[in-house]
Symmetry: C2
Subunit: 225 residues, 2 copies
DNA sequence: GGCGCTTTACTTGTATGGAAGTATGGTTTA
DNA sequence: TAAACCATACTTCCATACAAGTAAAGCGCC
């Protein structure tokens, strides 16, 4: 709110946290992987304390599990947590789509269309990371368009569990279907059809996890519950 | 999942965190209050390190704000965050009520009625803390009854912002209204009326914040946004 | 009187040493 | 052979010292 002018150098602990957080969400650190304070500390040439504090923050996010005197491990993907995230996002984003269809703010809708165009490009280029990042922005814009940008802050926490999964399962077919569904949502909103917008949003979020059973079967050691 | 048999003594840092967390939610540590690592550490006779780690976890919860080299403060209540929490809970618990009305699991519904009875008792006794705790359990039971207990884990984070507010504003009138609305929700579920159950749940959650403007006017220094 | 520098007393951030607990592999013992 | 014991090498946890930055009070100067 106030100090957006000056940018102070982020602390060592924050940098380590950001680094680990990004690697976990991208699947570079797979579920079950072991982390070591001393190992990471010596690797990047700092003391154990900042690394330890980064672990604590990862633990609060539910992305790491600290077992006292035993070790720290990347959390496995909780199936029930993923399903809960889906249920919550279906309910909330369904409401947001309905709201947006009755408001139809021109600027936000244009930004959403721009993201869909970006998704076409990222899909053709095979840029999975870029695609998922644009996907995130699209859903965030839905909250903005509904006049509840702050809602996205809370949904983002839920997305992290789902994103780990999507980095594993995102294939060409899914990307094409995702883009088509995004367009469906936006078209319904543009038409001012609240009912259709809610249904499209709910359908989209529900089908996002159709591959979950296959992923569990293929990589059982990455999941729990 | 596995080690529920043996209970290991919680670490010093966890105990400090639990203590602070509880005090913040109850309003004993008001928004804007200043925290000091050294002060708390010497007060309870430990070193700064565990206290510091408790601060970090409070920061992840959004309940404290750590300003580097300046100090740590209890977060003010973000109005937009509270409104977001309400929107999310309306959408999600509306769906949960609808689901429960179609399932009608007898055991869970009995437990919900028992909580309502407890709320009557706590109300008569003027036990505000006990009332709010029973209120929490009632809403948690709604998730359990719908077969999605894990959803409550996520909703609990959102509740913390709202609970700080409720500890400030909870008066006799609100408690009576709350109990009546809980009963409405449960009755609609028992009747198997999904539509009425969803409406009752949404109405209840929406009206939970009717006193927000008054609270902001009365204690402006506790709020932000 | 009022502006500006300096000192001083704070704050959190990082490094390091040791304490306590855990797991593993080798050794001893029956 | 097999089971119990023990040494050892880990892990996270806590305490302590110091570093780096902030803020405010005090003092000198104009």
């Amino acid at each position: 709110m106030e100090s957006s002018i000056i940018t102070l150098a982020p602390s060592t602990a924050s940098q380590v946290y950001d680094w680990l957080h990004r690697r976990v969400l991208r699947g570079e650190l797979p579920p079950g992987a072991r982390l070591s304070e001393t190992e990471i500390a010596t690797e990047i040439g700092i003391s154990r304390q900042p690394v330890r504090e980064a672990f604590i923050r990862l633990g609060s996010d539910g992305l790491a599990e600290i077992r006292p005197q035993r070790g720290t491990y990347i959390s496995k993907i909780s199936i029930s947590a993923v399903l809960s995230a889906r249920l919550i996002r279906e309910a909330v984003e369904g409401d947001l789509a309905r709201l947006t269809a009755s408001l139809r703010p021109p600027q936000a809708l244009g930004a959403m269309q721009a993201e869909i165009d970006l998704q076409h490009a990222a899909d053709s280029a095979g840029d999975v990371n870029g695609f998922i990042e644009s996907d995130d922005r699209f859903h965030r814009l839905l909250a903005v368009a509904a006049g509840h940008e702050a809602v996205w802050t809370d949904l983002e926490r839920l997305k992290s569990q789902m994103n780990r999964l999507r980095h594993m399962s995102m294939r060409a077919f899914d990307r094409a279907r995702t883009i088509a569904q995004h367009q469906q949502i936006l078209d319904a909103i543009r038409a001012g059809d609240s009912e259709a917008a809610e249904t499209a949003a709910r359908t989209h979020l529900h089908q996002m996890l159709t591959e979950l059973p296959q992923m569990v079967a293929q990589y059982p050691e990455f999941f729990t519950d």
